[in-house]
Structure formats: structure tokens, C-alpha cells
Subunit: 467 residues, 2 copies
Amino acid sequence: MKKLMALSTLLFAMTMYSQTDEENIKKIYSTSLTNGKSYEWLDYLSNNIGGRLSGSLNAERAVAWGKEELEKLGLDRVWLQPVMVPKWIRGAKEYAYYETDSGKTTTVNICALGGSIATNPLGVKANIVEVRDFEELKTLGKSKIEGKIVFYNRPMQADLISTFNAYGGCVNQRYSGAMEAAKYGAAGVIVRSMNLRLDDYPHTGSMSYGDLPNSQRIPSAAISTNDAEELSSMIKLDKNLKFYFKQNCKQLEEVLSYNVVGEITGSEFPKEYMIVGGHLDSWDLGDGSHDDGAGVVQSMDVLRLLKETGIKPKRSIRVVLFMNEENGLRGGNKYAEEAKKNNEKHVFALESDAGGFTPRGFSFDCSDANFNQILSWKPLFKPYLIHYFEKGGSGADVGPLKSDSNVLAGLRPDSQRYFDHHHASNDTFDAVNKRELELGAATMTALVYLFDKYGTNPIPNNKEIKD
Amino acid sequence: MKKLMALSTLLFAMTMYSQTDEENIKKIYSTSLTNGKSYEWLDYLSNNIGGRLSGSLNAERAVAWGKEELEKLGLDRVWLQPVMVPKWIRGAKEYAYYETDSGKTTTVNICALGGSIATNPLGVKANIVEVRDFEELKTLGKSKIEGKIVFYNRPMQADLISTFNAYGGCVNQRYSGAMEAAKYGAAGVIVRSMNLRLDDYPHTGSMSYGDLPNSQRIPSAAISTNDAEELSSMIKLDKNLKFYFKQNCKQLEEVLSYNVVGEITGSEFPKEYMIVGGHLDSWDLGDGSHDDGAGVVQSMDVLRLLKETGIKPKRSIRVVLFMNEENGLRGGNKYAEEAKKNNEKHVFALESDAGGFTPRGFSFDCSDANFNQILSWKPLFKPYLIHYFEKGGSGADVGPLKSDSNVLAGLRPDSQRYFDHHHASNDTFDAVNKRELELGAATMTALVYLFDKYGTNPIPNNKEIKD
């Protein structure tokens, strides 16, 4: 039986990829590691432009830069896709302290959450109540919450291997914490930063008031994990502990911005579109190197690496630098809307938005039959230590392109260090390793190459796939 | 055929591990990530002791600390194993510059290679000749080399995925460069640092003069990659370029040092030994956090994690903190020598000496049949993204324990950042991520747990293993 099995696997494998594919993929990796452009691009985007929140001048500088760099690549088309984006500004640096019964104050590190309102100009000062979740908030009820500052302090779960799962288990405190606490008459909200490490950086991120009328909205801010720990222990010691914070952030009118799109038009199937992208906007505290400068420059390099290695795509391949992933997803939605309007068939979309760390593989949003095709390529990636091929989510910006037949994918880099930097002032260029970034760009290019060459060809489940 | 196949795989798999194993391994990872000790230990070893070259006072402080910490764990035995080690000292900080025809000097960053002799007290100044390898040195010959300083400038190959392979392709310049150049009458040797990144850190490491008589030995030093690039371009512009360097390092008499050993005595097979270890010594420039503080604290935590998770080993499990891996391997050789003398049967040995980065798997030095047993455990590691199980080397310190029937293994963490820090002053605690370190300790513990439970049971090749 064993011999027969080996033979059938071999025959089958031969229909899945060829030696040329092995050679081309090797060339892609070598080119990225010896003649990649992603790191140089990231250096510019991070150090010459910097943080680029939607609606900011820096975001517009990033748009202009992205377009200019893509034009230099000699693509078939480069254009800007207009999209209206929210504009939220942080204003002056936030200030906060806790105050004991004896009147002693200790300053702590906070930052306003994206979308939050300001405190009143003199700040908010009130007793502080610590909770772990909305359940506990509900149990305490209006009598214990009203007029107080609510402190959400549920830490990210350290024993989850994927830090994104740990993030998923906590982020509702940040996103909906103010909305929930406002229901019980809280005066403000302080949220433990979404960070697995104990350090002094507050991590911002989006929050929402949902349908709450303006009059009921309360300010919310993130506190560093070190200060969250300290604050928590002080609350235990001093039941009457007071907390003060001041921030003057503001939501302004929407403004015009752009997705940046570049295209290599397909030689055989120009009407079949494949895209690769990351988001050009970032939060304002750091320079957005990991989130998502890395995804931007890797995506740009995919098209450049195809050209450099002499691969002429059969299908039209686009790089999309999405605007406003962080606080609105307007760019991702706009791109999908335009694609639909223009009747563009998107067969494949790949997003990189999980940091510029060593790539481990991809997560795929597709049918089982499409996934079987992908699994058949797994051996091609083994020399590059790319082993993670799982069904799951893809990415926020490519998600709106979902159809019954297409394949959406997300690059999955090693996630251990991501939340050390995510949305904080230490998301900076020096935290990105050149080789890790380049390996990611190569891994993305290899997958794009395979989908371009073979198209999305579902393999029925009854065929044998060597996993 | 498919159904039969699936059935046979299932039956076979059931003999390989149980649900209890899945649960125990989960417990091991959770404990390491929520209640690990490796990071706290590394903080002390790196920041309170620091660099600990064999024969130094710091190395002896590390020995005392290691013994004390192991004693606190309540192991069955903790002891020191005496071993004589070489003692080389760097002396005053090195100084170097290049000098153009016009007399203009530019200082560069160098460090003496471990084991090198000093320059004369006033330093060496001579014309400099760049070569890529020993072949080129031979081609140039005595007429072009004599009296000059030889500059080895072959970079690590960036397109190799394993940076250890890139290191392997270059390190002969460092190890044997002086010995080879001395044959042609060179006055000294400068070697490009073993570093894939362009930066200002010179990287030290061991070198050897082989059998060269003392009178023919010449000083050798490493130069930072940035300075190597600059020096190379200056040599191209100025054929008469001179180089100056001064170092006053010295080889002293051997001194007494120790391996530190701790043991949990096996409950069923106390005479079957399994060891896990890293090396306690480090180079002197940084604090040796990645090389190999990480391996030391992970190995210590393996025994502690077994105890914490309530696993009582059947076999005797030892942690060995080896002395003098960097410039002599005396500790590894001594441990094997004693094991042989005492007739101790070592069935398994695992080394961690490749940095405290996210673990990817292991490399195994064992028979095919033993390797089959290991492959049968692969699914147990999948939830932890441990995917790399390959035959290959193990580690320098456990290598001398090799027998026909045992299994030697080396932890294989992600290698991309390792040579950014290796043997340089930036191999420091802040470059180690807590979770990455803890995942490594857990991964090692899981493998030790499996080998302890099942022993080394070779699986003949004619059985089917699901890889």
C-alpha cells in the first residue's frame, strides 16, 4: 500500500506545481533579501513622514509619496482613488494623575483613544472604580458608577499563543468601554493598554460611542500597563482614590483623502484582478512602522519583485495602499465599492497588516476546495520556513471584496512582539528588522506568483492532498 | 485506499501519544507564559552579573548564582563540576583608524578577536590588502601580503534563510584568518564582523593560530560592517591606504572553573540520564543575553516547569550550565568525560544556544528510527506553532555525548535577528522579548517531557509516519 500511496502523491503533486515554480520562488526570496526595496521605503515613510493619521497633513504626504514611488516602478497604471475620511486630532499632550486620600498626586502615562471627546478644559477629577468587564460594570450598576471614572483593567491573556487572540479577548474594553460606562453615568473611562508587556507606553486605538447622544458621551483614554498595575494596587489600598485626566482631542469634519493604487495589467486575463495591500494611514503616536508601514512597503515590493525577477503576470495585479484602516475603514470599503461598480472580478486579495516580523504563513478566507489548492503548494514554502496555512480571517481592508469564489488572505508574521508596539509611540522604524521585513515581502510575492500562474482552481475534497 | 490509510494512521498515532500528553503540554506552555521564571533569571544574569568570559570574575559570579538558584528549586542534587578553562583578557579598549595618502585619519570600530595576541604597545600600522577568502590570499601570495595588514571582507550571504548557514559560510575568516595570513608574512588581520546588518558594532568571537609558533603569530581584530564597507570603498580609491590598530589583549594561564549541574532523579529509571543545557560563559562585550544567557535560563526553567506542572520524571533529568563554550568547549568535553567515566547512560540531550527568539522547532542528531519517533510527536506541537523538526546538528556542548543509540537535539529559534547581536556589545537584555524566551523554555520542556515519558524508542522505517 505504501508504494501505491507514494506514487499517487507524486503524480498528484506534479499537477500542482513545477520545478520552474521552485526556481522562481527561490529567485523571489533571493531578490528580496539581496535587492529588496521594502526597508529603504519604510525608512522614508517612517522617518521622513512619520505618523499619518487619516485626515492629517502627514497622511496626505504619504499619499503623494506612495503615488510617486509607484510611478517610479514603471507600472501600467498608477492612480489615486478619492475617499472621504474622518479627521480626529489629539491636540495637546494628555495629562493624568491619581490622588490619594492625603492629597498626594502621582502622574501616570495616558493617551486619548481615537474618536474620544475631550475632557472639559480643566479636566475630569473623580473617584475611580476598577472593573474587569462589562458584566462587572453591570453588577456594580448606576449607584456605584455614577459620577466616577471607570478603569477597565482586564489584561491580555498571556497564555494564548497568538497575541491577536489575546487582543481579541480584550479590545472591547477599549472600543466600547466608554459607551458602556456612560450608560451608568460614569464621568470618564481609563482603559489598560492592549499590551502584553509591562512598560510605560500608553497604546491608543479606535473607540466608538455607538448611537449615544452627544450629551451622554464621556472621554476615554488608555493607560500604560505599568501604570495600570500601579493604579490597581493603589485602588486596593485606598478606596477613596481619585483620578484626574485632561485631554483636548477633537473630531473635526470629514476630509478628502485617497487610496493609492498601482497596477501591472495582466497579459492573458487582464479582467481578472488580484490585489495586495496594506494601509497607509497609522496612529499618530509612533511612526507606524509595524502598523502598517511594513504592510505598505511589502505590498509595493510585491509588484517590484515580480518585475525584478522577470515574471510577467497573466492577471492584473494591483497594489493598494488603503487609507483610513485605523479609524473608519473608509479606504477598504471604497475600494470594494468601486470594484463592484466597475464590475471588476477580484479573484484574489492579500493583506499584510500584522507587523513586519518574520513571516510564518497565511490565513485564508475561502472555500475548502480553494483551500485544498493552497495546501498543495505548501511544500514550495518549506525551504523558507513558511508553515502556517490555515483557514480564518484575511484582513480588514480586503474583507469587503469577499465573494463565493474568490480567495482572501492575510499574511501571518510571528505575533509575539506585535503588541509591544501596536498603536504606541514605540511603533518606530528601529523596531523593524530588515530581513524579517524582506522575508515577508518575498513570501507575499511567492503566493501572488502562484495564484497568478494557476488562478484560483478549487480542488474537490475527494482528492488526496499531502499536508 | 484512503479510508484504510486514514485508519492505519489513526491507530498508529494512538500509540505515539495520548490526550494526557496534549493536556500536560498545554499546562507546560501556560505555566511558562504566565508563571515563567526565565525572564527574571535572565534579568539578573544580564544586568546584575553581565558579560562573563571564561576565567573572569563574572564567570565565577555566574557559577555561584547558577548553583544558588538551582538549589532554591529543591532539586534532588545540585553540584559543581570542576573544569580548567583558558583565560583571555581584552585589556584596554582597542583603537583603529585608516589613513589616506594625504595623511587624513578616520577612526573605525574594531575589537580584538578572542585568543588573539596584542599588537605591539605602539600598535601596528601598515598598508592594507582586501581579500574575500583564503584562495584570494594564496593567489596574491607572499609578495603582495608580506608586511601588510590583511582585510577579510567576505559578507555573510544574505539570501540564505538560516542565518547560521550564512555564518558557517564566513566564519573561517574569523577563526583561521590570522593563521592563514601569517603564512604569507602579514603584519595583522582585520575581519569583517559576522553580522548581516550594516551597523557600527564590531563582533568578537574565537580565533585560533593552530600550530603556528608564537613568533609567527599576528594580531587579529573584527571591524564593524559599516566600517568594513567604508574601508573597502576607501581601498578602491586609495591603493596606498594605511591601516592602524592597537590592542593589548592577552592569553593568561588556565584557571579553575565549573559546570553547574542540577538533577531531578528519575522515579523509575534513575540510571537513564537526560540533560538540557546552555552555556554559562559569554563573550565580554555585551551581557550575553542571547548568547547564551537565554539558553541557560530556559534550561533551568525546564526543570522548574516540570515541577510546577506536577510532572514527576521517570528518568533522571539534569540541567547543565556549561562553562567555556565560547573559547574552548572545556565544559562540554568535561561533562561527557565524567559521564563516560561514571558509566552514566545519557539517552537524550538538548541544548539551547541559538538565542532567545521565538522557537520554531529542533534539529536532531540521531538515527532515522529515532527520528521517526520524534516525527510522530509533531502534531502535539502544532498548536504552539512549532513546526521545524529536521535531522542535523545539535549543539557544541552536548555533541560530545553522542552515541549510536541516543538522541541529541538543539532548539531552533527564529534565526533572523541572532547575528545582529551575536558576540557584540548589543547582545543585551533589552534585545530579548519575554514571551519569545518563555515559549522557548516551554518548547524545550515539552520535548523533555515526551522523551522522559516514552524513552527513546526507535520506530523502524517501514512504519508509516504522518509528517
